[in-house]
């Protein structure tokens, strides 16, 4: 496999991991927070919400996935262009719509399908450009 195609596959795998982690993390946080209910903006209300939040395993799982997103994001930016990674990240919107249709049997409006199609075409257009167009520091070995 050529250097170029290895770089492309590595980048796409990391972007996909980034998108999956971000969306799963957001969904888990949303699920976790909805079990806590509306937060009262008073000192005691915020304290109570904080205690419920840190005791909620779903929220911790969400934070774990969002941390995974941050690690993937930082790692992929160490070799790939920002202008390559940023639009590719929008693929999450398309993925969420497909998941909602397949698993939640949600109905999706024509406007949303047009949006999903435009995102997919846009991501494919960006995806076929070179993932890296700038010089990067050489891979570093053990830190002195």
């Amino acid at each position: 496999m050529g250097r170029e195609s290895r770089l492309r596959i590595k980048t796409l795998v990391m972007v996909l991991a980034m998108v999956v982690c971000a969306n799963v993390g957001d969904l888990l946080l949303k699920r976790g927070m909805s079990t806590i209910g509306a937060v009262q903006f008073t000192a005691s209300g915020l304290g109570h919400a904080f205690r419920l939040t840190v005791a909620n395993p779903i929220i911790w799982l969400g934070i774990f996935f969002l941390l995974g997103f941050m690690i993937c994001y930082m790692t992929v930016l160490s070799w790939a262009d920002y202008s390559y990674v940023m639009p590719a990240g929008a693929f999450g919107y398309a993925l969420l719509t497909l998941l909602a249709v397949i698993f939640l049997h949600e109905s999706v409006s024509p406007r949303r399908w047009v949006g999903v199609a435009l995102i997919c075409i846009g991501v494919m257009l960006v995806g076929q450009t070179k993932p890296r167009t700038t010089e990067v520091a050489a891979p570093q070995k053990a830190v002195a």
């Binding site: 160490s78 920002y82 940023m86 639009p87 949303r112 995102i119 700038t134 520091a137 891979p139 570093q140």
Partner: protein, 127 residues
């Protein structure tokens, strides 16, 4: 007027934060291999880079500015306006990070912007 100033400030902090982060990560150098040990070592080096600490507060500020914008204006204005950060980000990548943004990449970014706007607007409950 205040909304447009806030929007401009939001777009600058979002793009500034991500450009600083990219700059920091490029300066750190990619991990030798994508194995847990090497990635952890990479993260250790990355958080020692000053640009990482420029990027993180800017990203946090941009998040709070988005919340303020959402409290001032309807979401049907805020979402398309914040999708502009893709365009500003691409300009930043081209002129600050000196990335090669060819016609295909520009076309892709603009389609993604329009697509994100259409998908996001659909989530707004109709009153």
């Amino acid at each position: 007027m205040a909304t447009f100033l806030l929007l401009a400030f939001f777009l600058c902090t979002t793009t500034g934060g991500e450009i600083a982060m990219t700059y920091g990560m490029k300066a750190t150098g990619e991990p030798e291999r994508l194995r847990p040990k090497q990635v952890l070592r990479f993260l250790g080096r990355a958080v020692c880079n000053a640009w990482f600490w420029v990027g993180i507060p800017l990203m946090a500020i941009s998040f709070y500015l988005l919340l303020i914008l959402l409290s001032w204006q309807p979401i049907s204005f805020v979402i398309p306006a914040s999708a502009l950060s893709n365009v500003v980000g691409t300009l930043g990548a081209k002129y600050i990070l000196k990335e090669e943004v060819n016609a295909a990449r520009w076309a892709g970014v603009i389609l993604v912007c329009i697509g994100v706007t259409l998908v996001s607007l659909d989530n707004i409950p109709v009153r």
